[in-house]
Symmetry: C2
Subunit: 471 residues, 2 copies
């Protein structure tokens, strides 16, 4: 046991005294050890006491210590080897060798320095000046009633009008302002739709076999079972929908740019989805999360235009402007409107009326188009950088659109590459975490690289860190 263990152990008593219950104790212990390893407070190679003696020392159950050790070994912070006991892993030494920096980082819970985790736009691209100018025009022109409780549960008519025009023009959406309902983002919309589907006695919803776990969890939270569809280079295999059986009442799709694999749903697959919806009375939920950002080909229009009576179109300002706005919209089939508004309830969750008016002005003034054009250029350049940087090392796909690409990896390497990158201060996500647990697809190992995420100033070092992490 090194000297650093002694001071650490003394402080640990204090930390643990604040934790309540067995789960709380274990979590506190795990966190304290993790932070000690992360910050260098426990030097790499430090040998930890046996779980038995450590538990006795702390006056807690041995199992609690053993479980904390096991968790940290699985995460790579500790190593356990027969004969040499449990030790702090060597990764801190790796970092010192690489960057010559001091490993100690001060207080806990800072994220990694670099991130290519998908799902975020470049937040530095938020058009502060243009947004404020739109806010000034919007607030100056707003009628007093706009500041009151919402008179219409669908949201401000100014924004619904502006969106109807924009979505028709930019995404081929058939969008009557009367059928647009504003909400606080995609997750809010999905929660409302989940409730509506349950109200219609739907039991199951088909989802893409690779998709966002948080969306599947939201559907599960509404009492719906999710059934995975295979996903290939033509997008989700919608012809399989019929084979899923009559309990499936809806399908959640990302037609413009499959998340995370990056495929565009082909015309035949689109037609198959609509055919299924028409013949079964099912609904298609179209998540058009980054439809604005397409680089190489003509924009791929929304599926909704094929059958506005069977498709719910869902969009947000989270990728095009900023997630912090909490602004999303649904374009609903006419027969769904009342049910969605009923699910919203007497309570008005619609986002701030001031932001709604500002976004309406931002769109109608043309500032939104200008902003999207500018960001599209920025993201395209990054995508080109990425493709050039990994050329010849790993296959890259899903690059025609959006803010992320997929880098395929040799079998058996995904997890260790993600972990090694974390130790190099680069947050990455592998494809595995997006896989539906029931999916029968053959395993595919890959990185889902969100190249929209870094700030402009961080882009070059982030890319360098990525290439350093690749096999």
């Amino acid at each position: 046991m090194t000297g650093s263990w002694a001071t650490f152990g003394a402080d640990l008593h204090v930390d643990l005294a604040a934790a309540a219950g067995v789960r709380g104790l274990r979590a506190a212990l795990t966190e304290a050890l993790r932070e000690a390893a992360r910050s260098g407070r426990l030097a790499p190679g430090t040998r930890l006491p046996s779980s038995r003696s450590f538990a006795a020392d702390l006056g807690i159950a041995r199992n609690t210590v053993a479980e904390a050790y096991a968790e940290l070994v699985a995460e790579g912070w500790l190593t356990a080897r027969q004969g040499s006991g449990t030790r702090v892993a060597e990764r801190a030494a790796v970092r010192r060798a690489a960057g010559g920096r001091q490993a100690v980082r001060g207080p806990a819970r800072r994220g990694p320095a670099y991130s290519l985790v998908p799902g975020s736009p470049d937040l530095g691209g938020f058009p502060r000046g243009a947004w404020l100018a739109a806010a000034r025009r919007a607030l100056t022109a707003a009628p007093n009633e706009a500041f009151g409780y919402a008179a219409d549960a669908r949201g401000r008519p100014e924004l619904r009008e502006a969106l109807a025009g924009y979505l028709a023009r930019a995404r081929g959406v058939y969008a009557d302002p009367d059928r647009i309902v504003l909400c606080a983002g995609f997750a809010h919309a999905l929660q409302l739709l989940g409730r509506v589907l349950r109200g219609r006695r739907v039991r199951e919803v088909a989802v893409e076999g690779y998709s966002l776990d948080v969306h599947r969890d939201l559907l599960a939270g509404a009492g719906l079972t999710t059934r995975p569809l295979w996903v290939d280079e033509a997008g989700a295999r919608t012809p399989d929908l019929a084979g899923l059986g009559p309990r499936v009442g809806a399908v959640l799709l990302t037609p413009a740019h499959q998340f995370p694999t990056g495929a565009a749903l082909t015309p035949a697959r689109r037609a198959a989805a609509v055919d299924w919806a028409r013949s079964t009375g099912g609904l298609i939920l179209e998540d058009d999360y980054d439809g604005e950002f397409r680089y190489d080909r003509q924009p791929v229009g929304a599926l909704q235009g094929l059958d506005p009576d069977r498709v719910v179109y869902l969009g947000t300002a989270s990728k095009s402007l900023a997630p912090g706005l909490r602004m999303g919209w649904m374009v609903l089939p006419p027969d769904l409107l009342e049910e969605v508004l009923a699910a919203k309830g007497a309570v008005d969750w619609t986002s701030s009326a001031l932001d709604q008016l500002t976004l309406a002005e931002f769109i109608t003034s043309g500032a939104y188009d200008r902003h999207v054009r500018g960001m599209r250029l920025r993201y395209r350049r990054r995508r080109d950088d990425l493709v050039a940087a990994v050329a010849g090392r790993v296959p890259v796909s899903g690059i025609a659109a959006g803010l992320h690409a997929v880098l395929d990896l040799p079998p058996g390497t995904e997890r260790s590459i993600v972990q090694a990158a974390a130790w190099q201060d680069l947050a990455l996500e592998g494809l595995a975490r997006f896989r539906h647990p029931d999916s029968q697809m053959p395993p595919r190992e890959a990185l889902v690289v969100g190249y929209g995420t870094p700030a402009t100033s961080a882009w070059a070092p982030t890319l360098a860190a990525l290439t350093a992490a690749l096999p």
Copy 2:
């Protein structure tokens, strides 16, 4: 039957064809008749066909027509007298005599011209310029991460810091920023707390015998039964809490200014509430909806200061700034924080980060205090006008604070006065609609006059309309 009935009847077929189900049919018929009477399309005195022949005419059940007639008679749009059948009431003629205006109003569903319905601030008082200036400063200073997905489910730290200072200073709230959770308004907060209480196996929540039905409905929606407390000139009778039995796990109170009766909860009643909470482990939910606006005495501080471990303090910007901001906050006892955040879930309903940063800047710059001072003066002048205008006609109470007062009425007159006022284009609310259905309190008839509601330009005519409507 007059000529206007014939054309009306023809159109009605079209309207009703769109209505689905028996309830839909009756609602559509009632609405169509109401609008016809309201707009003057059916002239006052027009005799309607018997329910039997009208039902045959429309091909619907006689009961459906009879029920629609009964509803409209109860509302005063129709009159039914033995021998002369059902006729459109004479109110249109009344208005023509009074104002010389044309009764026809164009498309349906416009609200009345004047309103003293409580619950809204003067929306014309929203400080557009100062708000925009704060937005400019806040957005200029904001770190990029503020535009991203919220890193903290409690909401932006800048606003929680600003609120902690403000609430301590202005409301005597013991407010640690770590225990503040931002939300999208009071109803959102109550919904979250309802879920938390149910998770704690609470079955019943005590509420004030006069209170907002929408709040009671939200609690009921969470699976909680509400139990009414008597309300008198000292506020809710909190000493009765113990008598409600052990299933009551929380009480919702408006201590600073009881809504709607206007009393301030006395120190003895406050102590009784806290004693009950301490001895039973119950929670007090303190709705401090208009605590900023107090006129005659020293501010009545928040109850929360008495026991921050047993009181959830709830406030919003809806009365002090604007409901359209959708901005509220909870100050939570430490042991409730995790449960409330769990109820919020993975989904982030917190209002716009931009508005949160703007409000933080608005508060810390002193603009919020200036605004509240200005509005307090404006509302106090209105209150004084109101008291002067009704002096000697009806007793007025609840005037020491807030944006509403209570005018007591002679027995048996509340309903007809509210109705007569509606015909004179003045929206009023009686005390009856706020009464808990299970309350055993002796009936009290009164108007709840929201003098904050009118625009400045409308204040004088609104007050004139009110005095005209009084007995």
